[in-house]
């Protein structure tokens, strides 16, 4: 896992979330933060590796970094 220097304004810990899942948790948090804020999503769901980038692009948000490790991934998303 590489170390990132990005500082998140909010963190969503969705590890273990089955239904509705980490992306829904991320969207819920993005709704509550201001434009320009960075949200860090922690997810151990492999599907997040495709779900999160796809949604970030669709919604026009920036996926700044994805930190991968054996146990979970960290997704840093900046709200447009």
């Amino acid at each position: 896992m590489t170390e990132t220097t990005i500082e998140a304004d909010a963190t969503v810990d969705a590890r273990g979330a089955a239904c509705p899942g980490p992306l829904m948790d991320l969207i819920g948090k993005i709704r509550t933060v201001d434009s320009g804020s960075v949200v860090c999503l922690l997810s151990d769901n492999e599907q997040s590796l495709t779900d999160v980038p796809e949604w970030a692009e669709e919604a026009g948000n920036d996926l700044l970094a994805v930190e991968e490790s054996d146990e979970y991934h960290e997704f840093y998303v900046e709200k447009a």
Binding site: G16, P20, M24, I27, Q47, W55
Partner: protein, 381 residues
């Protein structure tokens, strides 16, 4: 010394738990060693699944309401009062009516979900819902006289109660308009926040082809940001816009502010160990049902099964034995696929759902369970 169990919330989880404890700890309660108090902010128990049928003129909101006093075992002390503050350090609650404070040895939070349509500008004025008694009744007024136009079902909030209900609503609406010969004049669109039609991929994979077969349009990656009640449009975070003639929305949900103020979890959902249901941030505090942030659906079956787990754990603790009961994520849902057919799913933390082929038998099973639910609330089924 008397051990006092206080349950806050008289919905499915709180009521089933209170009755389970009354049965399980009958001897201890009768001897004065244990008290079980249920605090609810109103005199009635409300069974929310009835609301799905209200907009179609099939049930009345009053069908889902019964006095808690009629449902609770006499060994349970019912207190109709609103809790205003939780102090988990001192193990006491403050309430509106008093006498104050309510001291507890074990606290169970079953405060459930509330709707927060105000989080989406225009939603309250421009949309309807079937997630509240008043919402379902108001939607009925619109739907019964709706004979042409664009009906949009938009899942706005997540997590929300009963994740199957939005699918059920569009399947029922499709069938209901067909039966009445109006379907050609009514377009139906279903919108969902992520790239599939349901949070659970197995249920999404099952539902999507049914929607295609039945000409239910789907918009995914659709997260409503504002609703314009005048123009009758929904604008999304993703930059798209959708026109509607009748909007049935699943509004954003929140838990209780009490939970937030007590530092037990964000947005009113208590952070818990998803197996023991014990609060992460306080001792001798449990949460169940919608209130417990376990990642499983906010559904009545979940509250029912979790109540059994919490009852067994509390009985063990009160008797000085190690608490070994755990929740495995068990969830059951009947899913209406029309006005005369339903599917059924069962899953847990380890095993994904596999929806049963829709049948009339499952539809009648769902209606039969809705009638016999009151036995569940009493702790008998």
């Amino acid at each position: 010394m008397t051990e006092h169990v206080v349950i806050v919330g008289g919905g499915t989880g709180g009521t089933v738990l209170a009755n389970d404890l009354a049965d399980r700890l009958a001897a201890e309660i009768d001897s004065g060693d244990v008290r079980v108090t249920l605090v609810n902010d109103g005199p009635d128990h409300v069974y929310k699944p009835v609301w799905l049928y209200v907009p179609f003129g099939q049930r009345e909101p009053s069908d889902g309401r019964r006095p808690l006093a009629d449902l609770l075992d006499d060994r349970v002390e019912l207190r109709v009062d609103r809790v205003t503050d939780i102090d988990t350090e001192a193990q006491r609650l403050h309430s509106m009516e008093g006498p104050d404070p309510i001291e507890y040895d074990y606290l169970v939070l079953a405060t459930g979900s509330t709707l927060a349509p105000d989080e989406i500008p225009g939603l309250e004025e421009g949309g309807h819902d079937f997630y509240s008694e008043s919402g379902a009744a108001a939607l009925r007024e619109e739907l019964l006289s709706f004979t042409e136009g664009h009906l949009v079902l938009s899942v706005v909030g997540s997590p929300h109660m009963c994740p199957a209900a939005p699918l059920e609503f569009v399947f029922m609406a499709d069938d209901w308009f067909r039966e009445r010969g109006l379907r050609e004049d009514v377009d139906i669109t279903y919108t969902y926040p992520i790239q599939r039609v349901h949070g659970n991929p197995h249920i999404a994979e099952w539902a999507q082809p049914i929607m295609e077969d039945r000409d239910i349009a789907v918009e995914t990656f659709f997260n409503a940001e504002t609703v314009d009640p005048e123009a009758q449009t929904i604008a999304t975070m993703e930059g798209s816009e959708l026109e509607y003639d009748l909007l049935a929305a699943i509004p954003p949900h929140r838990g209780s502010e009490l939970v937030v103020e007590a530092g037990l979890g964000e947005r009113g959902w208590v952070e818990v160990d998803k197996h023991t249901l014990e609060a992460e941030a306080a001792e001798d505090v449990y949460a169940l049902g919608d209130t417990a942030d376990t990642g499983v659906p906010k559904a009545g079956s979940v509250a029912h099964y979790q109540a059994g787990v919490v009852a067994r754990r509390l009985a063990s603790e009160i008797r000085g034995r190690p608490a070994t009961a755990t929740y495995d994520g068990k969830t059951l849902c009947f899913v209406e696929t029309g006005m005369d057919a339903a599917s059924f799913v069962e899953f847990d933390y380890e095993n994904p759902p596999s929806p049963a082929p829709p049948s009339q038998k499952l539809h009648w099973s769902k209606l039969a369970y809705n009638e016999s639910y009151w036995l569940t609330a009493r702790g008998l089924l």
